[in-house]
Amino acid sequence: MNKHEFSVIGQPLPKIDAWAKVTGETRYADDLVLPRMAHARLLRSPHAHARIAAIDTSRAAALPGVYAVITGADLPPVKFGILPVSQDEEALCREKVRMVGDAVAAVAALDEETAERACELVEVTYEPLPALMSIEESLAHPEVRIHEYGDGPNVHKSVALQFGDVEAAFAAADLVREDVFFYEGNTHLPLEQHAAVAHWGPDDKLTLWSSTQTPHYVHRLLAKILAVPAAHVRVIAAPVGGGFGGKLDPFAHEIAACQLSRLCGRPVKIALTREEVFYVHRGRHPVLMWLKTGFTRAGDITGSHLRTWLDGGAYGSYGVASTFYTGAINPVTYKMPVYKFEGARIFTNKPPCGPKRGHGTPQPRFALECQIDRAAEQLGLDPADLRRRIVAEPYTKTANHLTVTTIGLGECLDRVVEASGWREKWRGWNAPPRGRGPVRRGVGIACSSYMTGAGSAVYWNNMPHSGVVLRADRGGGVAILCGATDIGQGSDSILAYLPAEVLGIDPKDVRVHPADTDLTPVDLGSYSSRVTLMCGVAAIQAATRLREVLFQAVAAKLEVDPSRLVARDRKVGVPDDWDRALTFAQAVELGEAMHGVLAFAGSYAPPKRAGKYKGGGVGPSPCYSYSACVVELSVDEDTGMVELHDVWLAHDVGRALNPLLVEGQVEGSVYMGIGEALMEEQVFRKHVHKTPSMLEYKSPTTLETPAIHTILVETDDPEGPFGAKEAGQGPLLPVMPAIANAIYDAVGVRIDEVPITSEKVLRALDLKRQGKPARVGPEKLPLFTFKTPLVVESAFGQPADAITRRPFA
């Protein structure tokens, strides 16, 4: 279908929830007020690692205004975790705390201040244990165990996969590079602090409104954790004030609020402070990386070997997936015929890491793109041309058995090169400096790819990943019920646009009812860039089913063949006899008279393409997005300060269902990438988070954010709804390496770790002035033996698995 044939798709429409958001009407979780509502707070551990000897809540319970005080003893003794393989969390710790910020008690009271004061009256006796605050410490102290499970003492997960013979690949290369990189941890920092309201009703049924990206998983886990039938638990995702992956786990505050409500017979609200949000975390893993890649003289990659060490923090969370993701996506971008990956996630006594925008892939992307830049220099190649040459082949398999469909990376590269003026601005390796005084200008380039939705759910099942129920009203309106959660990305709007396109009505005629486990079919959640594709395809299916029935009914009325009918402009009729077309509302009435109630379901599950090896379930996706990025910046050689001027980012989104929303995702991704590249870091000192505040955790303001030039490339992917692929995460990935590469272009220093602070740039410049290698980055690797790799044949270059063959289609 060509663009001009669409009426809704491709239009820069406002989001359907925009009007509520600009008037203050949107009710986020903390805006909800229920009659008799109590307010809760959590007491959190001041110790990074300690045994809990005793908890005395009597003084807290005696405080006037306190309704209920609970500890772990007041909850069923079950451990939980988002992944079935990592059931290691407790809402309120019973025997042991593993990080500063672990919750140990909760209070419900008549107001938040009273709950807070009562928490201070809870007396916890701790027996401190040695705190392990780094990968090195955790590996060096096997006698101190943070958890009893895993792939070794304090080793949560260790994986090793080999696809083809990397040693042979290196032997065949003209240039083999080995480089070491470090990517510091950082956090999502949504502006909305997590909040929830729980209501355990007199009917012994539970309703939880929460700021969550995944009401379905919370629903499942609440039933397990609270030992109640899932049928009696209802989870409603309130509009989410920013997620970025930070609201994807079931959290202590949600569970505590439910139990407190059960005990005190009132609705209970709980809202985290900003400090607590830093402890809840589940953000970007700090990852140390060793990368060895072979190149031919022309720039082709002969093979690549990646090792990653992830600092996981105190709990599993999504960490097993994160570990695999550090190895899964690099082969999707370029022709990489042979590949080996070894990764390990280590427990430490810090807030657990998990999925943040780009989940597990920005770190190895940084390593690969910085290494390619160096290889290009050694080979005397233009880094844009080198990348252009090695772009992966569409409709093939990667070395690690991922099927890729459309690839718009070549066009992305061409477009950013042209838009940025790369051919003029990049003047070759070792060109004389540009700029005046101590300020030098430079440009850098990098590419990336990202999946459009995870191919597997977090728990094994054969059911749809996304479902839509669509009901047509006699007034001509359409209601959409779908479990998808709008976290600002616009999923509610997509759920209006797509049925409107199919049915020929205005998006305003569609009312979207999202994310309520009582009412809406399951959507797994807003993660892995899955929502537009998965709920989009399901919505199209449901709308198409309605359209078929309407066409039957209208065809009978007009005495034409249904195949001649079209739906557009809120009418259904025959194009060359449009005067007789019926209104959409009339069509609905006829349809309902013929078929009964017009309610239709749509279902989506991704094609089953998991690689036939253990670990092959992480990485497959219906399709992959591609991005290319050029950054232009200045570096002040006296201060090491970096000033960004422009970022050009071309993104292969398959099709822009609404270009405004896609641009918004690109711009937001670039912004978040800039923060990660230059200033954001979640670091610890004396066992505590060094900077748990909006002031000291540095998020760029308008003044640090450069002009962002977005270029959308459309490849019309057969797997996506109307050809669309993801846009919410992929565009973040190339930003950090493009910045690092531009800094090298400007002042000739390599900063092999993020954030690239002015201190590090200045240190590298000092080394350069001293005639030493002008590099700042990690100097050593942990002593850790990876297990023997699972050796699998490389699937590189094989034809793709069957396209659009998916369940429920």
Binding site: R44, K690, P692, S693, M694, K698
Partner: protein, 338 residues
Amino acid sequence: MMRLPPFLYVSPRTVAEAAKAVAEAGPGGMLVAGGTDLYPNMKRRQFEPTTLVGLAAVRELRGVRGSAREGVTLGATTILSAVATHPDLLRHYPALATAAGLVSSPQLRNMGTLGGNVCVDTRCNYYNQPYPWRKAVGFCMKKDGDICLVAPGSRRCWAVSSSDTAPVLWSLGARVRLVSASGERTIPIDALFRDDGIEYLAKRPDEILTEIVLPPAEGWASTYLKLRRRGSFDFPELGVAVALRLEDATVAQARIVLGAVASQPRPATKAARALVGQRLTPDVIAHVADLAAGPARPLDNTDFTHPYRKKMTRVFVARALGRLAGLERAGRDEEELA
């Protein structure tokens, strides 16, 4: 939500009433003007006053009067955005307008006052943290504890003077008027500060800083440079205030005062002295910048590493002098050569 602890609130209308109120409130009393420093500190339980004496309704404390020729008097509760945009200040005391305009964010400058910024609590990233954090790491001597976490052997507190305007006012030779129920005094601003992270003000708690008096500006040039990671929100991690009186392109008088390198603004006296009688050539500037970096003794208790802050002192002093000499390039908007 972070909330304030309870307190009694008194809202006097005149300085005299305010002085009386703060005297009556006793040791549990505190003054508050804009609240932009005190309220966050109270929410973190760094201060738990029983009585707050609010200065918002004391009209006589607001406003700017005088002229560059005879000197300018600024009411202590004049908000920072008014200082930053005042035409006479921009023209004759540009360093002060610049410094006021670089404090935190636009919204905060609409609330925060000049007096409040002069008296802003010293900062330390072991101290400006929420109560549960401080409990987890172990309380420090500035609040609730008895050790210094940044310099564990130390018997004093090393929290950092984090005012943008104080080093500028010091470099301009400002005086401050202090009023209490028992009388009033006017002192040079350098006598207002002490080099101690806890007792960083020589002002008695019952004294109200009512006015800041600037000497005549004629013949003086001034500038202020601020080091921080972001162009907004962030406190100074280094401030460089320079005021010079030039006679025929030769420095007749000079003051260089560094902010955020100690518990009080730190004058670079030796460096300033070395400027007198000199023309602002690149060689002189480089020499003076080296001298100025001497008094900077940053510790590891703010953003940026302390060796970096020390290093930047030299660079920033050189740039401030270069700017006053007309040598400094504009930077951001500069056309590139290549």
